[in-house]
Every structure is written in C-alpha cells, then in structure tokens.
Amino acid sequence: MQLSETVHTGFFFLAPWLVFAPVIGLLINIIFGGRFSEKVIGTVASLASGASFVVSVLLAWSVAAGHGAAVTVPFLEWIHIGSLELDWAFRVDSLSTTMMLVVSGVGTLIHIYAIGYMHEDVRFKQDPGRFRRFFVFLNLFIAMMMILVSGDSYLMLFVGWEGVGLCSFLLIGFWYEMDTLGRPSWANSNAAKKAFVTNRVGDFGFLLAAFTMFWAFGSFQFDKVFEAAPGVAPGVIVAITLFMLIGVAGKSAQIPLYVWLPDAMAGPTPVSALIHAATMVTAGVYLITRSAELYMLVPQAQYIVAMTGAITALFAATIAVGQYDIKKVLAYSTISQLGFMVAAVGMGAFVAGMFHLVTHAFFKALLFLSAGSVILGLERGHHHAERAHAHGDEHGRKKGKHTLSKASGKKEESHDEHEVFDPGDMRNMGGLRKTMPVTFWLYMIGTLALAGIVPFAGFWSKDEILLDAKLHYPAVYVLLSVAAFFTAFYMGRQVWMVFFGEPRHEAAAHAEESKPIITAPLMVLAALSLLGGALNLPFEGFHQLGHWLEYTLKEVEALPLNLQVAGISTLLALFAIFLSWLIYGRNPLRAGQPDPLKKPLGFIFTGMENKWFVDEGYFAVIINPFKKLSQFLAEVIDWRFWHDWFHETVIAGTYNWLSNTALNLYADQKGIDAFANWLGTATQSLSGALRKVQNGFVRSYALSVLLGVVLILGYLIVK
C-alpha cells in the first residue's frame, strides 16, 4: 500500500518514457531524417536522449522524495504461461536511477559532441549519408541501455543486455567496408564480429545463470529471487553467480573475454566513449551490484570475482603501456578500470564500485572524446598540409595520385605515397599543447582524474576501492595498487607523447583546434571529472552516494578516508608520472625513434606492445583448432562421410539399388513386365499354333471334321 502511495506522489508513471523518448527520436530520424539537415538530425537525437535524462532526474527525485523505497512500475504483460509470469515492468530505485542518470547524462553530452564529430568524420570518410544512421543507432543504444538498467527482472535486463550488444556490433562496424584508416578492408566489420561473437560467449554464461535461477527459484524477478535465495543450497548460488561472472566478463571486458574491447575502437570515437567506456561495458558491474544479495551469500564466488577484476586491472594496465594508438591506450585503460570496478563489487564494496563506475564514466568519456578531438585536429592538419603541398609541389601530388582511391585518397601522405597517415598514432603527434590548447587542458583533467590525483574524481573513487581491498582482500589490494601505478604511468606517457615535445609529423604541426560543439560537452565532462568526487566524499557527514545506494543495497560500509592508503596511492601515481616524464617528457620522442622503453625492457616491452600475444594465443588454442575442427567437420564428416558416403553411397546407393535392381529389374522387368510379355508371347504362340490348323487346305478341314465327329460319336457310344 505504501507502494501505490508513492506511485501517486512521484513521477514514477513517467518511467516508460525512459525507453520511449529515444525510440521516438530514432523513429523521427528514420522516417523524416532524409529531409532533415545534419543539425536537425543531431538535435532530434540529442533532445530524445535529453528527454531520457530529464525523466531520469524526475525519477531520482521521486525516489528521494519517497525515502528511497523501490518502486515497480508495471507496464506490459509479456509472457504468461501457466505459473510463469514475465512482465515488462520498470524498477525504479536508487541503484537503477543512478545508472539511468549516468547513461542518459553522459549519453546526451556524447550525442551533442557527436553532432560535431560525425559532421567531420562523414566528410573525411566521404559518405555524408551515414550521418543519420549514426544517430539512429545511438538513440537505439540509449533505449536498450535504459531497458537494461530499468528492468525489473533478469529477463528484462537480458533483453537490454542483448540490445546493447547489437548496438555495439552495429556501431563498431559503422564504417564496415573500411579499416580505421579508411582503406577498403573488412577490418572494421571483423572487429564488430569479434565483439559480437565474444559477447555471445559471455551471454551464454548469463543465460546459464538465468536458467539455473529459474530452475532454483521459479522466477526471474529480482525481489522474488533475492527473497528465495537464502533458502537454496549455496552450491546453486555459486553456480548462478559464477555463470553470471562469465556474462560479466563478456560485457565488461574482463579476463578471459576482454579481447573484443580494444578492437572495438574501430567504431567512431563517440561510440568508443559512450558504449565502450562509459555505459555499456559497465553493465556487468551493474549486474553484479544488482545481484548483490546473491553474491553476498557466497564468499567464494565473491573472491573469484574480485580476483578476476584485480588481475584484469593489472594485466590490461601493462598492455596499455606498450600501445601507440591513442584510442588503444584508452581502451586498455578502460579494461583496467573495469577491472577495478569488478574487483570492488566482487569484494562486496558495491558503493565503491558504483562510485568508480560513475566517475569513470565522466573522465573516460572525457578522455575518449578529447582523443577524438585530437584525431580530428590531426586530420584537419593533415588536410591542411596536403593542400599546401598540392600547391607547392605539383610533382609530389602527381606521384601520390596513382594510389588515390575512393576511400584512401584523403589519407595520402605526400612524403611517402605508399604509407597511409594514421591520425590516431601517437608517434605522429607531439606538441599539440600549442595547437590544440583547449583539448590539451581538457585532456589533462581527464588524465589526472584517471591517474587518481587529489582532488579529481578518480582519486576518491579509486581510493575507496583500494581501501576496501586493503581491509578485506590484501592480494587484491596489491594487484590494484600496481595497476594504479601503471595507470598513472601510461597516462603520463600518453600526455608527454601527444601534447609535449615537438610535432613528429607535419599533420601535428598544422593541427587545428576543434569547434565549440565538440569542446563544449567536453567542458561539462571535465567539470564532472573535477568535481565528481564530491558525490561520495569519505568524510563524516558526507558519503552521499553510499547513503543513496543504501536504500537499495543492504549493509553499506561507510569507510572514512584512510590517509595511509590515500597517501600510498597518490605517491605511487605521482612517482609513475615522474617516471614517465623522465622517459618521455625530458627527452621527447623524435620522429621515427623507437619507444625509449623498448631497449631497457626488451622482450617485456615487446610483450606489452603485442598485447602479451593473447590474441595470437586465442588463435592458437581456440580459434585455429576450432577452424580445423570445423574444417574437419565440414570436409570429412559432413562432405566425405555424410554427403559422399552416407547420402551418396548409403541412401542414394540403396535407393538406386532398390529402384534399379530390386524394383526395376526384378519386380518390374522380371515380374510385371515378364508377365505382361508372357501374356503376349503366349497368345502369340497359341495363335501361331492355331494358325497351323487354319491352313486353308479344305481336305484337312474335312479331316478335322471327321475326327471331331468320330470323337463325339465315340464319346456318345462309350458313355
């Protein structure tokens, strides 16, 4: 009854508009977008996402006004079979509204950014018609993500889970017929396929968890499951939680399924920021937090989750050190930070995990979008340089011309026409501090937040995770601290390489700053990265996020600031940045020079550079044997055994024998035909015999008459 009361007092009836607003936006763009200008398309999409944000704010306000009581807003009956009742119902509580705010808030900013970014991107890729498609996909993603975070049951969550996976696939493969440099190739669509297939492995785990859950509890509904969970054997819960972990590893890019995320950088940069950094990949963290009551029952599963997260955090951080692509560094950083979050929720520090999720959404979106701005700046600089060469050096242009093609033409480098200019390669950058000052400062804020320097948002959230780890799981604490050290180091390396030193390429020298439509959303994100820590300050009287989430999560631990942990992590970060200055900042990289770490670290750096050969390992261990197996199945089992032998020899052969020999030869030819022919020949021979009697000789007829008479008379006499 309290429930119905809150429904009437709050804005809960608006909950379906979380999903409908972006759906309406995408429908408008699909139906009328052809006649709209780019600005109108972008505005419609941004307004649709913004409407979702407004609804999220109203819902959060309503939850706060109702003192955090969770409200279920029934919307549609979905599947009713016997005792099974699956409905589309929205669950509005402090946890889901937190996610809604992050998704729609960051999502709207990225929509606005994308108006500027895609305007240039579609022109560099020479296909402006795809501008509309991008925003349709982006709106679809927001709708799916809203279903994911607002669903009232694991099945609704799964619907959203699959939906965002689809959007991820569509957007990674947005430029499906080219690679990231715009050359014709299937690289981007292969990256999309890789992401999708890897996620299917994870989704399989999620499905197993859901099936087990239904078998054990008879329901997918969150409350019913949590209510029944303590009464079930712990083994079942362990199975559910670990299957769920596989799903989390897929969606949130944890070991062993993280390999898709770096490749997912093939998508346009706003996609990398929105889907592959800020929102979709945190769905796994949300899932564990949502299932907190299940995980709390089984400490052994919690331990496995925490270790998975911690190892991923460290492992990915080491790879990030050896990357040259500006987005790849951020991608591995994302995996690493997701490891932090998963470790946190695994340890039971759900508030810390969610806190880091929120701040990470801010600063990683900021970093990705700034990286996008850098890439665009370099593209512009490259164009500028190319035009200058075209005027000055007619010969060079002509030489370059013969490799010009539709897709790769714009990336031609006038020095060496066979090498395509890569605007994302940090080795082509340098000195952008002067040419792109706004982006530089925004990037610095993101970097400091990610590195965990006081007072940026990342410091507070990361520190809370480290403190929890130190209190409960020392091993995780050590792993995460080392990962934090690497984090600061690779971010330092990136900043020195990109923004300091001298330009290593003429494109970098001519780089141009981005327009306000690109930088304005970045400033909002920068402010959030700077101040986001205020969401959950670890001081007495604060812990706002903790109190907020306490409505949903029972037993929240509010830890005070631990100066030892905070001091150690800050010192580590500062030392790492100093170290990166020593290596990359003091003697800036020159064009063509190998990475200075390559020599001292030797094969270790080669490992980092090549992602520890994990992809190659997967190829050797899983994919190639799998291909061999499928080839074997196709060629030997299917073709030779099944087709050639079974079908051709056994079935077709038997059939042929049956029809040719048994039925045709024996039954038909030797049976029916023979009988029919015998009838004919018998009649023939009989008539042949009778014809001899009918010889035309009168006297023989007379003889027959005589014989007949004699016979008849003889018979009459004898009788």
Partner: protein, 100 residues
Amino acid sequence: MIPVEYYIILSAILFAIGVAGVLIRRNALIIFMSIELMLNAANLAIVAFSSVFNSFSGQVFVFFVIAVAAAEVAVGLALIVEIFKTKHSIDVDQMSSLKG
C-alpha cells in the same frame, strides 16, 4: 425281305468310300461326287430305317436331303467354274488362301 443290317452295312460302306474320297482326292469334282456319295449313303440308311419302322418322316427327310443336295451342287459347281476361270485348275490344295 432283305434284313435291314444289309442296307446299313451298304450305307456304311458307301459313306466310308465317300469320306475316303473327300479326304484323299484333290480334284474338286471328285470331292463333290464323294460328298454326293456320302449324302446318298445317309439317304439310304434313312429310307432303310423308314421302311423298317413304317414311318414316312424318313422318306420326307430324304426328299429334303435330295433337294438340298441338288441346290448345293448348283452352288458348288458354280463356285468350281469360277475358280477354274481364275486358277485354271480345280485342285483344292491350290485353293488354300482367301486371296484370289
């Protein structure tokens, strides 16, 4: 009065001669005559029994037979004349096909 067996025996002998003539001879005229012989053998037998049983029906039969035989001879001789016209022969063995 001569016993009836004598007539019957004579009739049988005549009939047998007629049969033999029909079967053995190839000349159509001879065959014809043999047939007449057989008919008259039968007539002889019939009138013999007729006088034995004092019945006239036998004698009426014989008249019919003689009349029919006369008609038959008329038709048969006409056929033989026609055959002779086409084949220049009255050998019955040469008349073994319907085609003229």
